[in-house]
């Protein structure tokens, strides 16, 4: 255990949470006009928060609220106190932006060090980090956490599977950080390349997150690599990875001295009791740059508050069971159908009929968008149509940060093959999360 608070008596933990919540509420009420207005509308004052139970009186925050205040409208500090900015793709062209002060970075690194300590990662370890570096929080989050516990970090980022395998073998990597599907893809490529996974690699544990993984996929990774599977959960709006981490007993512990979890009824907003499935909501209680009150993650899960065999008293969340919205996760990247539609609208002001088709290419996700070519968009030339395809693919990469394959189809093909006006076809095997 990295920090003794993880196993502290609940009373002590809750006392700490309350004090921090009260500070955070004061902070947002006085520094963020958006929150002052929301609190005032509900007739709640910061002073009204006298117990953790009062949390439910506070307003909820949505992704739309973040978007409406793009880029820095919800920050409580001027930019000169911000040391890091991350961003994820937005739903209508504008990205979601998050910022960190030096203190926020310390919090993030602390929770990532706790994550790493789930299997005692330390100086003797070589951490191969295949999460994407850049605007996503995944790569850098794991990077700093692994450095903090003293491991040697290989910042390989995504892609270039064969080169990654070579480095993993030659550098003697002991820890793998990646999306579960990429880890399975690497195992398959390793076999094709003639590696012996049992003798050529020393991977003892893996930190897997950013996408849902069925028990079958988890077991496949354990079998292929001979590793301990550790689940990592997080979202950039709260801090990035490090919001919750799986212990060796398979329980996903929420680092709730920093992020207080609740589960609500997604329709009514009512707080649901432990053991009941609902939408996960977080309140950050130690963040400075972008504290968030009751952020609706749209992730569906269940909370439990019993002590775990690992010694942690922290709330356990079950692996995410689904989404309360239409968000898709494609190789760890979040995609909203509205983003796809937004890109399509850019073609000559025409919004063509389209269908999003998700499938597997090997073990990795493949996203295709089938776009109907109608009389308005049909140019009489193979070159012009290929250009249209290429342009759409480029725009999708630009806006969604992922490679999308565009397929041009005849009108009515879509209804013909789907039977009704359905926008999303998910052919991937039900991996727990897809609806």
């Amino acid at each position: 255990m990295w920090n003794q608070i993880e196993g502290a008596p609940r009373e002590e933990l809750e006392k700490l949470q309350l004090r921090r919540l009260q500070d955070t509420v004061q902070r947002v009420y006085h520094l963020v006009p958006f929150y002052k207005k929301k609190f005032d509308e509900l007739g709640v004052k910061p002073e009204d928060v006298r117990s953790l139970d009062d949390l439910k009186r506070l307003p909820l925050t949505t992704k739309q609220d973040l978007r409406d205040h793009y880029p820095f409208g919800l920050f409580t500090v001027p930019l000169d106190q911000v040391v890091r900015i991350h961003s994820s793709s937005g739903t209508t062209g504008k990205p979601t932006v998050v910022g960190y002060t030096r203190h926020d970075m310390d919090v993030w690194i602390e929770v990532m060090a706790r994550t790493m300590s789930m299997v005692d990662v330390g100086e003797k370890d070589v951490v191969h980090n295949a999460y994407g570096y850049g605007l996503f929080t995944g790569g850098l989050g794991f990077h700093y956490g692994a450095e903090r516990v003293g491991a040697a970090v290989v910042p390989s980022s995504g892609g270039f599977t064969k080169r990654q395998l070579l480095l993993m073998k030659d550098f003697g990597a002991t820890i793998l950080c990646s999306t579960p599907s990429f880890a399975l893809h690497m195992a398959e490529v390793a076999k094709e390349e003639g590696y012996d996974l049992a003798t050529d690699f020393k991977i003892r544990a893996g930190f897997f997150g950013a996408e849902p993984a069925s028990e079958g996929l988890r077991q496949a990774l354990r079998d292929a690599w001979g590793l301990i599977y550790i689940e990592a959960y997080g979202l950039s709006e709260i801090i990035g990875p490090g919001v919750a981490a799986g212990c060796p007993y398979g329980n996903l512990h929420v680092f709730e001295d920093h992020f207080i979890p609740e589960v609500i009824d997604t329709e009514t907003g009512e707080v649901l009791p432990d053991g009941t499935e609902g939408e996960l909501v977080f309140t950050t209680v130690t963040k400075q740059a972008l504290p968030i009150i009751r952020y609706r993650t749209k992730d569906i899960t269940v909370l439990h508050r019993e002590p775990c065999k690992c010694g942690r008293t922290l709330t356990v969340m079950e692996s995410v069971k689904g989404r309360a919205d239409d968000m898709l996760i494609v190789n760890g990247v979040n995609v909203f159908p509205s983003q796809v539609e937004h890109v399509l609208t850019k073609i000559e002001g025409v919004t063509p009929n389209y269908v999003i088709v998700l499938d597997k290419k090997g073990v990795l996700d493949k996203l295709e968008v089938w776009v109907e070519v109608d009389d308005r968009t049909f140019a009489d030339g193979i070159g012009a149509l290929e250009q249209l395809k290429a342009r759409l693919q480029q725009e999708m990469l630009n806006d969604l940060y992922i490679n999308v394959r565009i397929k041009l189809v005849e009108p009515k093909t879509l209804e013909r093959s789907m039977g009704k006006a359905k926008r999303i076809i998910d052919k991937r095997e039900a991996e727990g999360m897809q609806k």
Binding site: D380, G381, K407, V409, P411
Partner: protein, 147 residues
């Protein structure tokens, strides 16, 4: 010139899918439309079927109501002796006039004649017709194709 020699060609977008060509040709056949010239351009996953028919207006409405994506294009045709060098002489006139050819297709017109169909950028159509006429190439009137 365009009015006199412009020929209405129908371009039909087709996915590379089994039976698709059959469906177009059946729709035309059922409507008793005669295909006078055709060409098919293809890429990996779709194709464009280009047709000159005896009744373009009727063909258009038949195919549209059958749900095909189509576009009407102005093309022109020339008839040349069916012998070596004829195609070259036409292409040379267009090339000398600095006119790009988008695409072209041909059929043997019966007897010793061959008919060449050309699509050039629409802004260049008039210039192409002028240049060909001046060079003494025989342009084909639409009535040759239409009923």
């Amino acid at each position: 010139m365009i009015k006199k020699y412009g020929i209405k060609q129908l371009s039909i977008f087709l996915e590379n899918r089994k039976g698709r060509l059959l469906e177009v040709t059946k729709a035309l056949s059922d409507a008793s439309i005669n295909i006078r010239a055709l060409a098919l351009a293809e890429s990996a996953e779709f194709g464009i079927l280009r047709l000159v028919v005896n009744n373009p207006e009727k063909a258009k409405s038949v195919l549209s109501s059958a749900g095909f994506t189509l576009r009407e294009q102005d093309v022109f045709a020339v008839d040349v002796p069916d012998e070596p060098g004829s195609f070259y002489s036409v292409v040379k006139v267009l090339s000398d006039a600095d006119i790009n050819i988008d695409y072209t297709y041909a059929f043997v017109g019966g007897g010793s004649k061959a008919v060449l169909v050309f699509k050039v950028p629409s802004g260049k159509l008039e210039a192409a017709l002028d240049a060909l006429e001046k060079a003494g190439i025989r342009l084909v009137e639409p009535t040759f194709f239409y009923d």
